[in-house]
Amino acid sequence: MTPFQRCEGVVVPLDRLNVDTDQIIPARFLTSISRSGFGPNLFYGWRYLPAGPGGAAPVPNPDFELNEERFAGAPILLTRRNFGCGSSREHAVWALQQQGFRVVIAPTFGDIFYQNSLKNGFLPVVLPEEAVDELFQAARKANALQLVVDLETQTVSAPSAGLRYSFEIDGFSRDCLLRGLDDVALTLTEADAIRAFETRHLAAYPWLARDLNATT
């Protein structure tokens, strides 16, 4: 995993509640066995105008925030409660990353999306509702508000607007992100503990030891 320490850049305000992962990447783009190629389909239904007849190339919707020139290449997304709710598709994180995002700030996240983000070196920042409000206001006033998101100090700041907030993240995830740790390799360092637990567990509940290949 690529380490995440700090991100500085323009923030895109996406003033919507409950942005679900079907909006982030619609299901019809999930028929892939690869991890790449999702960026162009990020927010597909909002980003492009409804398709005309004949299957022409999609036309960007000028009313959608992400399509504005001033936000091109912005690495930080600011949004409302419950971002990433719904489906467990990790493709949602991949699509955001492949579009150039490294951070998303919201008051709350869907639990699975939050976990998926951490596994990909993509930082979900939880800030209180009031802080998110203030950031939205600052973003509206500025043409393209610059933010600094620092995982080391666990802060989000907008120097031009004089705003600065601290955020919480659990120590384990923070450590993994800062060091870019491969968490499978990390867990496998505890293989002996897993094996010992497994032996005890399957002895205590022997019906769990059944091999599903046995009758299928």
Partner: protein, 472 residues
């Protein structure tokens, strides 16, 4: 010390605790589908790793399989590649795989319990958010992403933090004609789609105890739509009766030993939850969603809300967006909403009881001419077979419905089953998000009986007023 059901499940699976508050959680059962697994298997192969305990995993292609003319295979080359990859990866790693041609194939959250792959007291994970379904069997069951699929394959565990606990007490008795779907939609309407974020919800109370396993699965299934990580229900006679004789359930002495343990899987008297909520089942009416989030729901007698009367600015804006997308005017009576299509299926509502309820409404009737397509997609090949033994397929076909093969189908429109832009659908599935059933499609979530009634009338009606179809 008193424990909640969640505490019991956590404590029997968590080990290697760290000071940062995380533990390793041992995973008993891993269900695998074609959409969220290929990148996980690829990563495993690239690192030269093998599945830790392949016999604990169970794979089924369900998300993008066709529901018609299966003999011709999968027409879409990308979908076909994904299903082929699943079969190949499972063969490589020694994991049980149910292919499209297998009679037992179906939606993973229907097949797991049906085959006894899901058993009480287990931790169950799957790269699918509706894994919460299995909590109806007192399992700690939750959806994970592809990286965690890889992690579970490689280590049989996840390093996670303990969830918070919430109990939803459903008091009273449902009125006749109302079902589990109405309970869970009413709950989501009350607490919202982030109402249970970070929590495992335990459902309790007389209205839950009165439900069949099918109904219980419907409720646990939609826990994720309330934001919860997991849904849970205690073991009782209904649970045990459902599991007896299932192909992968234990037998003989092992069955007795298991049942004795399973019966302890309930919250202790006096156990303390982080949050408790009470719902009165007797006050619930048939639920219909009107918007683009499952929390945008009301009763059949309700009206589409007026965004201008919503005090919270962010919600007001989301209501406006929803009504524009849904093509609905404020204050429209729910009963006045005309439909184009009807979908009966999904991991929420495609079990035998669901099909029986819908068939009982359509029997001897005909779908409205304005309904261009009404389709029934059974939750598994075995559900389909059972329904055909009972003649339900003939009831549906005589009423003008299409009778399909099993899969996720138009719940999420990854296969050919999807809405066209602007089409409006009464659906027994779980999400009414924008474009969920096809780009530009408009979804209203309802129970199977309500969907069937809407197909007959061409618009939403109270199934209790329409009454049952012909008796048999």
């Amino acid at each position: 010390m008193t424990k909640t059901l969640f505490d019991k499940l956590w404590d029997t699976h968590a080990f290697a605790d760290r000071e940062d508050g995380t533990s390793l959680l041992y995973i008993d059962r891993h269900l695998i589908n074609e959409v969220s697994s290929p990148q996980a298997f690829e990563a495993l192969d690239l690192a030269g790793r093998r599945a830790w305990r392949p016999g604990s995993s169970f794979a089924i292609a369900d998300h993008n399989v066709p529901t018609t003319e299966r003999g011709f295979g999968i027409a879409d080359p990308l979908s076909r590649a994904q299903v082929d990859a699943l079969e190949r990866n499972c063969r490589n790693q020694g994991i049980a795989f149910l292919g499209m041609a297998d009679m037992r194939q179906g939606i993973e959250h229907v097949v797991g319990p049906e085959q006894g792959v899901t058993l009480p007291g287990m931790t169950v994970v799957c790269g699918d958010s509706h894994t919460s379904t299995h909590g109806a069997f007192a399992c700690l069951a939750f959806g994970i992403g592809t990286s965690e699929v890889e992690h579970v394959l490689a280590t049989q565990s996840l390093r996670i933090r303990r969830m918070k606990s919430m109990r939803v007490n459903v008091q009273g008795e449902l009125a006749p004609g109302l079902v589990a779907k109405d309970i869970v939609l009413a709950l989501i309407g009350q607490i919202g789609t982030s109402g249970a974020t970070g929590h495992a919800i335990e459902y309790a109370g007389p209205a839950i105890r009165a439900l069949s396993m099918e109904g219980r699965m419907t409720i646990c299934n939609m826990s994720i739509e309330a934001g919860a990580r997991a849904g849970l229900m205690a073991v009782d006679d209904t649970t045990i009766a459902y599991l007896r004789g299932r192909p992968h359930a234990p037998e003989g002495e092992l069955w007795d030993q298991a049942v004795a343990y399973w019966r302890t899987l309930k919250s202790d008297e006096g156990a303390v939850f982080d949050r408790e909520i009470t719902l009165d089942a007797s006050r619930i009416t048939p639920q219909v969603t009107w918007g683009t989030s499952p929390e945008m729901v009301t009763g059949i007698d309700g009206l589409v809300p007026d965004p201008d009367r919503e005090p919270d600015a962010a919600r007001r804006e989301s209501y406006r967006r929803a009504l524009t997308y849904m093509g609905l005017a404020p204050n429209t009576p729910i009963r006045a909403i005309q439909l184009d299509k009807v979908f009966i299926g999904s991991c929420t509502n495609a079990r035998i009881e669901d099909l029986r309820a819908a068939a009982a409404v359509v029997r001897g009737r005909r779908k409205a001419d304005s309904i261009s397509l009404a389709m029934v997609v059974p939750g598994s090949g075995l559900v389909k077979e059972q329904a055909e033994r009972e003649g339900l397929d003939r009831d549906f076909v005589a009423a003008g419905f299409e009778w399909r093969d099993s899969g996720c189908s138009m719940c999420m429109a990854m296969n050919a089953d999807r809405l066209s832009p602007g089409e409006r659908c009464a659906s027994t599935s779980n999400r009414n998000f924008e474009g969920r059933q096809g780009a530009g499609g408009r979804t209203h979530l309802v129970s199977p009986a309500m969907a069937a009634a809407a197909a007959i009338a061409g618009h939403f009606v109270d199934v209790r007023e329409l009454g049952p179809g012909e008796q048999r």
